[in-house]
Structures are given as C-alpha cells and as structure tokens.
Amino acid sequence: MTYSGWGRALTADGELARPERRAVVTAQGPAIGNRRSYGDAALNDNGRATDMTRLDRIIGFDGDIVHVEAGCTIATLARIFAPKGYLPAVMPGTGFATVGGAIGMDVHGKNHHNDGSFGQHVTEITLLGIDGTRAITPADEVIWKATIGGLGQTGVILSAKLRLKPITGGQMRVTERRVQNWDQHIEMLDASTATYCVGWIDAMAKGDALGRGIVEEAEVGGGDYSAPKGAKKVPFDAPNFALAAPIVNAFNEAYYRRVPAEGRTVDRRIEDFFFPLDKIHDWNRLYGKRGFHQFQCVVPLAQVDALKSMLSAIASSGLASPLAVLKRMGAGRGGYMSFPMEGYTLAVDFPARDAAAELIAELISLADAAGGRVYLAKDSLASGGVIKSMYPEHSEWSEAVNEADPDHRFETDMTRRLNLRGAK
C-alpha cells in the first residue's frame, strides 16, 4: 500500500495493517495515526506499519482523567467532553491528530506558554513493546521521557490516560488585532496575558510591512457548545498555479483586511478557533500533486532577531505561502525529543519545489546558528547531524529506545533519514 504524510511530498510503499480489535495489534512495526505529520515521521517504506485509527474509543472517564485508545482524535475528545465541561488540556492546530500521534510528537497548542505540551498532561500510557503490553507512568522516567515526543520508537501506544482541563463555557471569546510590522507583532505577543495566543503572519509582506499580521488572543467564554457542521472537501489536486504568488498575495491581503483596523472581539466555535483548517477536508490537495513542505522552528527568546532574518529570507524568496504562524512558547516539554523551548516559534508552508528545499535548508541553518530547534512533526528535509545538535537529550533518547527496541522494529523513514538511532 502506498501512503504519505500530510505534506504529500514524501511517500512510502509498505505493508499497512489496520486492526479493529486490540487482540490483533502486533508490535511488528511502528504505529501511525491520521498521518498529520507533514514529512516522513509516519512512514515506513518497504516495511510494516500499524494504522491505529480504528482503535479510537474512549474507554474510561473518572474525575478529570479520560482513558482513551490511541486512534481517538483530538477533535472527538473536544466534541464529546466540551458539553461535559472539559477540553483536552492541549490541542494542536488540527483536530484530526490522534492521541497516539499527539504523544509521539509531544504536540503543543495556542496555550503552550501557559499549559505546556500535550505530554505533560498524560498520566499513563499503555505501551505494546517487543516484550508485550505494559502501563507506564511518569515514574518510569527513562521509558516515559523516551515515549513522550519519542516518534513512536518505544513501541505501539495502545491507549493513554489524559488529564482534561475544566472549562466554564462552550465557546471561545476571541480578540483579533492587526499588527503592522515585526516589532509590533513581537511586542503584542510579549504583552499578551491571554490563555490562548497566536499570531498569523503575512509571510509575503516585505520592507516596512515585514511581519505584519493578526494577533489572536482567546479565552474559553460563555455560551453553549455547538458542534461544527459538515466540512467542505477538496475533491481533486489543485493545479500548480492555484497557490501562485499573485493569488496568495491577494489572499493574504484579504485575510489581513478581514479584521477591522481597530480590532474586534468575537465568539467562535471551539473547533473554529482551534482547528480552523479542518473545515476544509484534504486542504493539502490545494498544493497540487507535488505536495508541500512545512518549516517550523523555535528559537530562544534572546534570538528573536534570527527569526526576523528568516522571515526576510522567506519574504524576499518570492515563494508563496498563505499559512505562516508565529507564537511565543513557554519552556514546557514532556520528553527527551520534545520540540518546545522557551522562545518564539515560526511555522511556514512552501509548495514542494527545488527553490523551497534550498530556502528551507537556509532556514534550518539559521535556526541552528541561533541555538534553536526544528520541529520533527513538520520536517522532511533536515540532516541528522543538525537535528542531533538541536536536541541536547538526543543521546538519552536513543539509548532508551535502542534498549526498548534492540531490533529497530519501530524505525520510520524519518528516524532512518536522520539516523537518529544509529546502526543496529
């Protein structure tokens, strides 16, 4: 079976199992979820993998702890628990991400500066390793930290217990404000006291307008929860010119002007705030058959200027990108290979072209020079040496996973490409 990551630029051809009962799950290959990682983190070319999306039940709920199978999506948890007064403590930008994937990537959300990463709210994981099934908790420090953000290399995550966050309403109260340039953008992110805060950047704006965008701040507010209506679909791969520079420029301009100059406060559905792009199923097809790459890095607070240089390089490259996100991160992270560090994170999409690969290579070296880090959930182009230098606890992780999986059964295209685990 041929399958790909969300960016569709990389594909794998291999045996894919999709068990519907726990009794038939095997530990013969890495587990994958809804493949919302952009690159090759969920691919195992010429090997076996286990698609966990059919093991997606909520198997217990006690106090504020939910026990959920790995294939359950974040959006399902939000839909079921919001009316009961809870939300997943951390929600990534797509509700299609599975709980297993959210753990394997230790994902973050718009509240990272307050609430940390996804893995920090997990209290127990049921892991199918090569020696069978066991439940692990944060007390099992080494295997725990190797599993949270651990790219699925310690085994198949069957289920997990998550501590949910109590909420007092069912809608999001969102304040949106325009920021005219980079300095204003950073200033507003720094000054924000909101629980949820994120900036959208017009990555094509140059000169004085470099860094202009919209800052969104939000709290869970009053009003009853209402589930979103059906999503739209992208029925076919868009032609390559669909996201050509003039179109993206027009889109970005309109997106910026959408928010009035004086700003506004509106109530939104929970899903519309957290998972804005999920309203269009398969939006990755807008990038056409060749697919796309996303670059995301984080740099330390003091290196904010490095991020500005990256943005200049992006804006002057002429490579069109409608989706660029800037956010201030806290220090919270759950595992050895977790992405977050205190600082600023920038995420930008590029159509998969040679020029984009060159630009991303440049951005990666800028991130490296700034003491920053590239996000493995998005990466498809970095080299192993750079990644290892960016992740200071990499050797603790590789030692732990090689002990848990000495035959390297759970390796993926990503761990092989970056040689994260060394030779057998």
């Binding site: 079976m1 999709r18 068990p19 519907e20 009962r21 726990r22 009794a23 059919r54 039940r57 909520i58 198997i59 217990g60 709920f61 939910v66 199978e69 079921i80």
Partner: protein, 244 residues
C-alpha cells in the same frame, strides 16, 4: 422510555459506528459477540457518549446455547427492544474450495445463527408491539458470483429470512429492515481493491435514515441499488460467463 438495542456482532466496524451514533442519541445497549475485552471498550465508549446502560454478553453464532442468556436479558428490559444484526463471515472462496467444511461456518455465522437468534427473540419483541430489527445482509446475496458465492448464498438465505420475518412481525408493530451493503471500508475488506466502497459511518447514516423512514430494504452505498438492479437483470446464459 429507554430504547435498548441488542447488537449481534458488536465488534464489527459498522456495529461500532452504529453504537456510537445511537449512544449519542441516548440509547441503551446489550452488546453481544465473542471478544469480551473489545466489547467492554465499546461499552465504555458508548457510556461516555451518552448511553444510560451498555451491557456486554458473550455470544457465539456457532453455539446456540449462548443465545439463551441474551434472550432472558431481553425479557427483563424495560422500554423498547430493538435488535441489529451485524454478524457474518467471508472466507476467501479459494479457501473454501480447499476446505469445503468451511461452508458450514459461513452459513452459520451469516444466516442460520442470526436467524435462530431472531426467531427466539421474535415473541419477546412481538409482545411489546414495537421495536425495530435491522438485519445486515449483503449485495452478495442478490446474485451468486464467481468470487464469493458461498457467502452470497448464506446472505441470500438471510435476506429471504428477513423478508419473511418482516411479513410476520410487521403485523405486530415490529419493523424489520434489511440492509444490503456493498463493500464497506472495514477489516473484512482491508487491503482489497473494491468498487463503490463506503465507510462505516456513511453506512450507518443510511441505516438510521432508513429506520426513521421505516424502509423495508436499503442499499448502502446507494449506488448499489441501480448496480444490483442491472446485475439481477443480466440473463443467466450471459451472467454465467462473467467474472467479477
């Protein structure tokens, strides 16, 4: 008043999607099947989603002695009793050719087992003069095809049984709906290339619409109605030479 669904074959993917949807609508369940651990997970899921009650009971279509406990439990239920049948098995036709004794199992799983169970449940439902039986048959039962005619024959038997059951129970206020799915994206079809495939969730949407409208026979995906109408019209001298 509580609506309870007795689910035969609760570990099937279509059953699971059905249980979810009905749990969110507030229905209660007796889940029957062989994998108790799996059904307990489904029962917990149903409870979190809104089911007031979800009981798990072991049942094996090939062991009718396991039916009694479920029938007894049904008698004790308050409110409306409904039953949805998702059982069936489809070994490869080539495996059956190699070991013809497999035929007995296929016929038991897909036809005589559920028919026997429903015949036992019938009086309990008729006494309440309400409720719905949803029987999952198959387009494979509409005509015997080269690639799975044993499964098809069993489903044809089940379709005919359901038709008679509808005739009988309709008089007592119990509605029987026959569902003929084409290929559905489940473990049964995983890895096979099949035409006009639907998802368990979409199939369940069709089923629930059908129940609401008191339809007698539905196809899911809907495209299978015209397809099977044409296939049934092909004269046998031509049909016998086709292989699909």
């Amino acid at each position: 008043m509580t609506d309870t669904w007795i689910i035969l074959g609760a570990t099937s993917a279509i059953a699971r999607a059905f249980i979810r949807k009905q749990a969110e609508a507030g229905a209660a369940f007796i889940l029957c099947g062989r994998d108790i651990v799996d059904m307990e997970a489904t029962a917990a899921d149903a409870t979190v989603r809104g089911a007031p009650e979800a009981t798990v009971m072991p049942i094996d279509m090939r062991d009718a002695a396991t039916f009694d406990a479920v029938i007894e439990a049904a008698k004790g239920l308050e409110g409306t009793i409904n039953c949805a049948v998702f059982v069936g098995s489809m070994p490869d036709q080539a495996e059956i050719d190699a070991d013809p004794s497999l035929i007995d199992g296929v016929v038991t799983d897909s036809f005589t087992g559920p028919a026997r169970f429903l015949t036992m449940l019938c009086p309990v439902m008729e006494a309440r003069e309400q409720g719905v039986v949803v029987g999952i048959s198959s387009v494979a039962g509409d005509r015997g095809r080269l690639n799975n005619y044993v499964y098809g024959a069993a489903k044809a038997g089940f379709t005919t049984y359901l038709s008679g059951l509808r005739n009988r129970m309709g008089r007592k206020g119990v509605h029987v709906m026959t569902v003929k799915p084409g290929p559905v994206d489940t473990a049964m079809t995983w890895g096979m290339k099949m035409p006009a495939m639907t998802t368990p969730e979409a199939a369940v949407e069709d089923i629930l619409k059908g129940v609401q409208k008191k339809r007698n026979v539905i196809y899911t995906a809907k495209i299978w109605f015209p397809i099977m109408t044409v296939i049934k019209l092909i004269p046998e001298p031509i049909f016998k030479k086709l292989s699909f």
